[in-house]
């Protein structure tokens, strides 16, 4: 993984950000995809290949864990590390929104 990777830098991609948000409750792959599509009103959609690879990587990094696993479905849940990473990125994004809101108001 390169040094610019979201996992190394902590600057999460939108996909990782929403996957972690959706795993504040235990969910399996397709339910995560549905949750993200519904919550973002279709603005962010994650394909199955991306979802599978990202879940595998998050699991390997210890940001999420399998809580139920059988042959056809694995249910994941966020870990304490995952929550920390999510919260860090939330704060980073909140700063962007705050700056943008302030500047846009000035322009308006």
């Amino acid at each position: 993984m390169g040094k610019n990777s979201a996992y190394a830098s902590g600057e999460l991609t939108d996909s990782i950000f929403f996957i972690l948000l959706s795993l504040l409750q235990p969910r399996h792959g397709y339910k995560i995809m549905q949750f993200i599509t519904e919550e973002t009103k279709g603005n962010i959609q994650i394909g199955p290949a991306t979802m599978y690879t990202t879940l595998g990587k998050l699991n390997k990094e210890g940001w999420i864990e399998e809580v139920i696993s059988d042959d056809t479905k694995k249910v994941y849940f966020i870990t304490a590390i995952g929550r920390e990473k999510l919260f860090e990125d939330y704060r980073r994004r909140a700063v962007f929104v705050e700056i943008a809101s302030r500047l846009l108001e000035v322009v308006e």
């Binding site: 792959g29 959609q45 994650i46 290949a49 990202t54 042959d71």
Partner: protein, 173 residues
């Protein structure tokens, strides 16, 4: 009208998008992908009603029911499903299977790791065969056969490796 048509792929490891476009075009002309032959380099199409489908591919090393369920629940149906190579098709409005560059990079890195190992093993076998070429070619056909198998195995591993490295390099630019 021919029942089957065959097309050479441009190399799934190098330009999978090009191959997928070809599969889509063939489907619209009424030839639907049925299987991969020729050590995975040749597509076989069966005559059928024209269909408007999109295709995607993946290279999951160990195919599981969990993996297939991800695709099927998202509207992607497996056409080719082996360990290492999978091709899926879906209706045109279906969300793309790959929606994030990071995950494609992770997948490519895994492929590079796997194929580096295969290339090293087959390279080693080929090297040993070359060392043994004099006694092997004493029996002419045995020599030719073992060399053919050794070189083929090496090519099948080495060229995909080059493809994955090339794609990762292209993505990093």
């Amino acid at each position: 009208m021919m029942k089957y048509k065959y097309r050479m792929g441009s190399g799934l490891a190098f330009t999978p998008e090009k191959d997928m476009k070809m599969l889509e075009a063939m489907g619209k002309r009424g030839y639907v992908l049925e299987k991969l032959t020729g050590m995975g380099f040749i597509y076989r199409f069966k005559k059928s009603d024209p269909e408007d489908k999109i295709y995607t591919w993946s290279a999951e090393k160990t195919l599981t029911q969990d993996y297939l369920a991800f695709f099927m629940e998202s509207g992607w149906h497996p056409v080719i499903a082996f360990d290492g190579v999978q091709i899926f098709k879906a209706n045109p409005e279906t969300v793309n299977a790959h929606t994030d560059c990071t995950s494609i990079t992770i997948s490519l890195e895994e492929q590079i790791k796997i194929y580096s190992k295969y290339t090293m093993y087959t390279g080693l076998v080929l090297f040993v065969l070359l060392l043994l070429s004099t006694p092997l070619f004493y029996f002419r056909w045995l020599g030719l056969l073992t060399m053919f198998l050794g070189i083929s195995a090496f090519i099948v591993c080495f060229f995909p490796l080059l493809g994955f490295i090339y794609r990762k390099w292209k993505m990093s630019k």
